[in-house]
């Protein structure tokens, strides 16, 4: 028995030592997406010579409207392939995993066993997890095709010099504004074009947000100027000119006066009675959407993937518009949603089949079809010039305005972090910042900042 225990112990120690000596990569930043060099590109056109079946995983469910929209695209692709290439068609088998966490868990196990799909839709915060298994998108898309993508949707695509995921489930976080209530304040509505082209001159600042929400608040009628599910972390830091983590997301960087200012600002919005306290109700996020569509909230900070649905609910009841998070030093429009990865551990034929499917998906017609049916944003400039998109924008003008926010770029020197631990760190970052709203929003901002910073740093250290 002692001998067995000794062998087990020795094996464990050996494993520990091996893990200690694992070579670490020397990467300090994620690099430029438009690298000027000759890329070993996949050929264009139909790339397979015999029928091929490939798997496509999505984090959506098969029955929500976003999953249904993907399923429809897959069906169309399969039908087109059967018709066009009866002897060498590609068949895509979709698989809906019902959530990013479940999908990531399964993918990690599947990659170890080489049973992963050929292509998958991954949450943007998790893209870095698949660095070693992803085909670089610059081997699939040309320089011009990449330049055709809205800058804002390429924020998280690069990790350690690799263009990992093609943006597809594209959304941003922004204010959907009850413009009828805004107009009653007699403050001129900020112009998005000006924010993009001449940001220094835009009056849309943190102070103006405070002022306008205060004017839109009517305590007697229980109307709040602002509602949000929590602190807009990325926006609150980037608009002050700092990132939450270092470029490769291994260390937190918000333990300073700007981080403190973020907490104080959001706490004051609640304490002044201009914003509904997000910590008061577990169903706050759903309820504020209902309250906004019922004309009970002036501005709602939310994901743009819900704007089309809200616009449908509101109809002609009141005017709506969109705004990015206001600036302190610069504007920033966060990217949310997901991207598509092609895995490199499959046979060349299967990879080619996946490439052909992805190229078909990113064609203008398919991009617009998906965006209009799922409520996401189109990812390329050319797709927003198609008749189908333009007629959609006539129906839902707010979607046309929201896509403009993705033209906002970060000032020189400011980077968007991407790393393996980012998804986990973001998750805890969001949870811990809610501490500022607890106990009737009376906690000390410095204390909440310290707790949040320690927690986020621990997560980054443990998982990087």
């Amino acid at each position: 028995m002692k001998r067995i225990l000794l062998i087990v112990l020795m094996s464990l120690i050996s494993l520990l030592l091996i893990s200690c000596f694992e070579p670490t990569r020397e990467f300090n930043e994620n690099g430029e997406i438009y690298e000027d060099k000759e890329w070993d590109m996949f050929e264009s056109g139909h790339l397979v010579t015999e029928p091929v079946k490939i798997s496509y995983w999505s984090a959506h469910s098969a029955v929500d409207h976003q999953g249904l929209a993907q399923n429809k695209l897959v069906d169309q692709f399969n039908a087109m392939q059967r018709e066009t290439y009866p002897d060498s068609y590609i068949e895509v088998v979709p698989s809906f995993q019902g959530g990013y966490i479940t999908q990531n868990t399964k993918l990690q196990a599947a990659l170890m066993g080489n049973n992963n799909p050929e292509i998958a839709a991954i949450g943007i915060s998790s893209l870095a997890l698949y660095l070693d298994y992803a085909v670089d998108m610059r081997e699939i898309f040309t320089y011009d095709e990449i330049r055709n993508i809205y800058e804002g949707f390429l924020q998280f695509a690069m990790y350690q010099g690799k263009f990992i995921g093609y943006p597809y489930f594209a959304a941003t976080n922004a204010f959907i504004v009850n413009k009828t209530r805004w107009n009653e304040t007699e403050i001129p509505f900020p112009n998005i074009t000006e924010m993009v082209e001449n940001p220094e001159n835009s009056p849309w600042t943190w102070e103006l947000l405070e002022e306008v929400t205060s004017l839109m608040t009517n305590k007697n009628e229980d109307i709040y100027g602002l509602a949000s599910n929590g602190i807009a972390i990325y926006e609150s830091l980037f608009t002050q000119g700092i990132a939450p983590y270092n470029p490769i997301a291994t260390k937190a960087t918000f333990d300073n006066e700007k981080g403190e200012k973020m907490f104080e600002y959001w706490q004051n919005l609640v304490l002044n009675g201009n914003m509904k306290n997000p910590a008061e109700d577990p169903n706050h996020n759903t309820k504020i959407q209902a309250a906004f569509t019922n004309d009970e909230i002036g501005m709602l900070f939310a994901s743009s993937s819900g704007f089309q649905n809200m616009s449908q609910q509101i109809g002609d009841d009141f005017l709506i518009d969109v705004l990015p998070f206001p600036k302190v030093t610069n504007f920033y429009s966060n990217q949310s949603g997901g991207g598509i990865i092609i895995f490199n551990n499959k046979s060349s034929t299967r990879q080619k089949a996946a490439v052909e499917f992805l190229r078909w998906l990113q064609a203008d017609d398919q991009i617009v079809q998906f965006a209009t049916e799922a409520g996401y944003l189109p990812t390329t400039y050319s797709s927003t010039e198609t008749d189908k998109w333009l007629s959609h924008v006539e129906l839902y003008p707010i979607m046309g305005k929201t896509i403009e926010l993705m033209r906002i770029t970060l000032p020189e020197g400011l980077y968007v972090p991407s790393g393996r631990a980012k998804a986990l760190a973001d998750d805890d970052f969001g949870k811990y910042t809610r501490g500022i709203f607890l106990d009737g929003a009376t906690r000390d901002p410095k204390e909440v900042l310290r707790d949040t910073f320690d927690r986020v740093n621990t997560i980054l250290n443990q998982n990087s």
Partner: protein, 340 residues
Amino acid sequence: MENIFIETNLKTKDTFYSPVIEELTYRQYKAIKVKNRVKYVLTILNYLIMIIVGITFLYPFLWMLSMSLRTYTEAISFNPGLIVGKLHWNNYIEAWHKAKMGVYVGNSITYAVLVLGLQYFFIVPAAYAFARMEFKGNKLLFWVKQIGMMLPGEATFIPIYFFYSKVGLIDKWTGLILPSLVSMFGIYMFMNHFKAIPDEIVESAKLDKASHAKIMLKIMIPMIFPVFITHFLLTFISNWNSYYWVMVMTNTEKLKTLPVAVRGLLRVEGVAPEWHKVMAGNILQLAPILLMYMFGSSQMKRAMIGGRKIKFASDKEGKIKTFFKRITKGFTSKETKEKY
């Protein structure tokens, strides 16, 4: 102070015998009165607590029903009230179609039938062996199984998924039902009940040269029949509601079950889910469980407490009827009225 006389033990109105008269002091009379009043108050309190506890258990179901009949806007307001202005029964039809329940309900039934139909071939003999047979490695095997039971399911998903994907069990009915066939919970449950059967019965069967198979099938199983019903119900509920296991072990839609579909309605990104349809879907998913529980609850209790006789819940007076009868009895007790 005036004495109060109370007649007790009065047998008939026209009795020849003098009734037994107990002379009570005013203090004793008051004490009895106070005692009875306290008793009434405690009875009322008892029922009040029962009603409050009952409501706390019932309210979520009623609220779920109420949510399932609202419009989208009403539903996402999360009003805690139960009253709905206009009842939207069509939510059920929409939930059925949207969650493609017609497809998934078939998978759920297949999954439940396969598990319930096959597991007893494995767990009952295993339980009998652990309870009544002596063999080498008995304790070690049981210990290994027990360890498996103690590990949280989520912790074992990745290794199981890895193993399943290597041996080609992902997206297969075999892979889906395999762990349930040798469920430690079932083995444990049957084993305990097999152990509770007196040794004398088994010994006398052995004297009659009955084999282990015969003892198990002809003697022991009939004696613990209510346990089967309890286990059947519990396994059905757990398999019918199984979400994460099915979600992880299936890739395509061909084997996914009802909970995956209903939960899928919640998955929409950035948009407040259609809670009215989600709740309608939940009620549709719950319906068979509620029906089974209504008919089998007495057996479950019997199996937990012990006893053999099977009694159907609908045989005698219903629980609600008995409950009201007891309340009425408590408030209008003739005996009490006659006394004072």
